[in-house]
Symmetry: C2
Subunit: 396 residues, 2 copies
DNA sequence: TAACTTTTATTAATGCTTAAATTATTTGTT
DNA sequence: AACAAATAATTTAAGCATTAATAAAAGTTA
């Protein structure tokens, strides 16, 4: 690993961060176990935890079982040390969540976005949501460690700029991170929605313990990717990485909203499933109101065993399988998380996609990669935003 | 970034490593400039360079221009501090190179592999090459810092095990790193061929200065990928990453040697170009000896403007463009290096591939990614192996 | 030659981790 | 209830590395 210059101050900061992360990971842990996990000596642990106690970031909470001697004093994060806000923005909604320092959700707030084209109006709404959730929980701005935004890609994760999401008309190069920070006066972080999700899954969901986690969020409209290495978001250079939805899975396939053809998003999102079902039905001569078939109908139909609906979803799963296999081939993760509303709705989509991944003739290890569905639903992005804030809290 | 426990010893090691890398990067550099580059103070630089001088890893070499005061004493790596060996193994050849501590190539050695299926025989040959190159240059084993192997994927880069390369019959789960280390008694490192290449490009070629470099090696037979983040090889979890050649670019495309269909390797390697040319010619009614057309013929034909040959190569370039665009979408590199013998031979292949990357309607940043051809040819893997050794030389 | 600049080396101070010794607390045994 | 053993946590002195300030060395300019 490439390190930059290290001195005593930095050394201490790194070790302290290590202690904090370990406490966060274990929830409650004794100083003894901290020495084991961090490889620091008991003296150092005493020093560092002492300082953390004094700054109220952690607290002593009860004691553990005796192992034949003195009972260990357990340490935990101090929930009242401060707060974090997570906020996801998508084309139709703003999801906002407030958590304490331990990451426990205190309150949630949800607002529909009227016209996504009304950029300034939407930004006003975001700020209003933040103000409102603080007001109604009586939280002072000074007590908030940060705001974690989850925004649509493509996103410049170095500068915090929304580049040009196809569904966000009029949002070209919007420095959303700086705008929200300036408007609220609160330190703000921003990540692409799926990157945010996977960090949330790591801290608060099932992702803990894996070294390389890839997440695919499959929505009715969009498809996004996220990737974590050792608990850190894999960032791109200047531009956003993990643009899974606009990788081409089928050459000369369906036109995509992005201007290309055959993107995974065009071939395997929820709308594609609906389209496959419709096309098949009209092809077989059935008539009547089929134009109004919805994704829920297709999912329900598949669940009930309707052949057309099963085919439609299996088709999406096939394309997903191909693209994910390609991603596995490049990234070699040890876990894959399946999120997004379409994925959450359809058991079949998950099963068929994983089936495809488990049956590759050559990348036999793809079968050994852990695969599971995301722990969080619609608020995954906001929860990830909270994780972003707490994770970034390193300047102790 | 995730750090592990740091103490004084580790701190010093990291800073010393930093100094070494900076010296290696600049070739010759004064202590003053080292303080600027490493952000360490003059006192620390004096200490660390002192130790490095005493251990003969670096040496003073002349002085730089005066800037109005005392002339700076220049420091450089001591070429005689030790040696590194790089060795690439592919289906037909063993390429071996010996370098001094500065990375200057002292000698090269090349041997054809008779039967790749004869695993033990090939391993014997590898060891013999290493012995021979040391013998004829009068280098003692004890003076060799390490051997860097460049081997075919899929490769378990954690354990140094060749998993199951399709062209390597009988090579299932061969712990090549440990075998060579045990047989030679020299510390051995191993990387997948293209990963090795890109590290070589970073240290000794044009890759320096880029934060995220993706390399695509396009050969007559295989296609491989490599990726560097901040000068470090991007490793997978348990299994090899960057298996570019076996990502699917065309659903239900040509059967691939790996058992899948439509892999990039099956659609865009040199043999594919030959096939496209042949198919087109026989389709157009031409006859006579066309079965014996070679890749060189196709490349030369394209260079001369032959429409069929141009088409054949453009077809490969198109597939390469699609797969590389997908990789860019996921990895967001700031530079792409094009290597491999097919790529080295054909100017058209390079031009058309980059053209494709520069014209994406959505990933506009793909056009801004620096693209260049690899600096090294057939011995890129071996040079990369040397880079691996010198790069890994951290336990100072 | 003297004044000045730049580069390098030295020294005392500071701050961190570490190892070893010590104190504190709990359990089990007599 | 007293005591020994075991485990947990703290204290202390020592070692080490960086830093900041200062000194020394070497070259330039007037």
């Amino acid at each position: 690993m490439q390190y930059s210059r290290i001195n005593n101050k930095k050394m201490k900061s790194i070790n302290k961060q290590n202690v904090m992360n370990t406490i966060r990971k274990f929830g409650k842990i004794s100083r003894k176990d901290l020495t084991k996990r961090t490889k620091l000596t008991t003296g150092t642990i005493t020093n560092l935890t002492d300082e953390l106690l004094k700054s109220k970031l952690i607290q002593e909470k009860g004691s553990g079982e005796s192992e034949g001697g003195r009972k260990p004093i357990l340490l935990e994060l101090n929930p009242r040390a401060g707060y974090a806000i997570g906020l996801e923005l998508n084309t139709s909604q703003i999801w906002c969540a407030l958590s304490d320092f331990k990451g426990e959700i205190i309150d949630k707030l949800h607002e529909r976005v009227g016209f996504i084209e009304d950029r300034d109006g939407v930004i006003d709404s975001m700020v209003a949501c933040i103000d409102e959730i603080l007001r109604r929980n009586n939280v002072d701005k000074a007590a908030v460690f940060g705001i974690g935004l989850a925004v649509p890609g493509p996103f410049n994760d170095q500068k915090g700029v929304i580049v040009n999401p196809p569904n966000f008309r009029g949002w070209h190069n919007v420095p959303i991170r700086d705008i929200i920070e300036e408007r609220t006066g609160i330190k703000t972080y921003a990540e692409k929605e799926t990157q945010s999700s996977v960090l949330g899954e790591y801290w608060f969901g099932l992702g803990n313990g894996y070294k390389r986690i890839f997440q695919a969020n499959v929505y009715e409209i969009g498809i996004g990717g996220g990737f974590l290495v050792d608990g850190n978001i894999f960032h791109g250079d200047r531009f956003c990485s993990m643009e899974l939805g606009h990788t081409v899975v089928k050459i000369d396939g369906r036109p995509c909203i992005c201007g290309s053809r055959g993107c995974l998003e065009a071939q395997a999102n929820g709308l594609a499933a609906v389209r496959y079902a419709r096309e098949s039905r009209s092809g077989s001569g059935a008539l009547g109101g089929l134009d109004e078939i919805s994704l829920d109908d297709v999912v329900a139909g598949a669940e009930a065993g309707d052949a057309v609906c099963v085919m439609a979803i299996e088709k999406c799963a096939y394309y997903l399988g191909v693209s994910l296999m390609n991603a596995i081939g490049l990234l070699a993760p040890d876990a894959i998380v399946f999120g997004g509303d379409f994925m959450a709705k359809s058991r079949l989509l998950f099963e068929k996609t994983t089936e495809h991944l488990n049956s590759h003739p050559y990348f036999i290890h793809a079968g050994e990669v852990k695969k599971f569905r995301a722990s969080f639903g619609i608020d995954a992005g906001a929860i990830g935003g909270i994780a972003t804030v707490l994770n970034a809290f390193s300047e102790i």
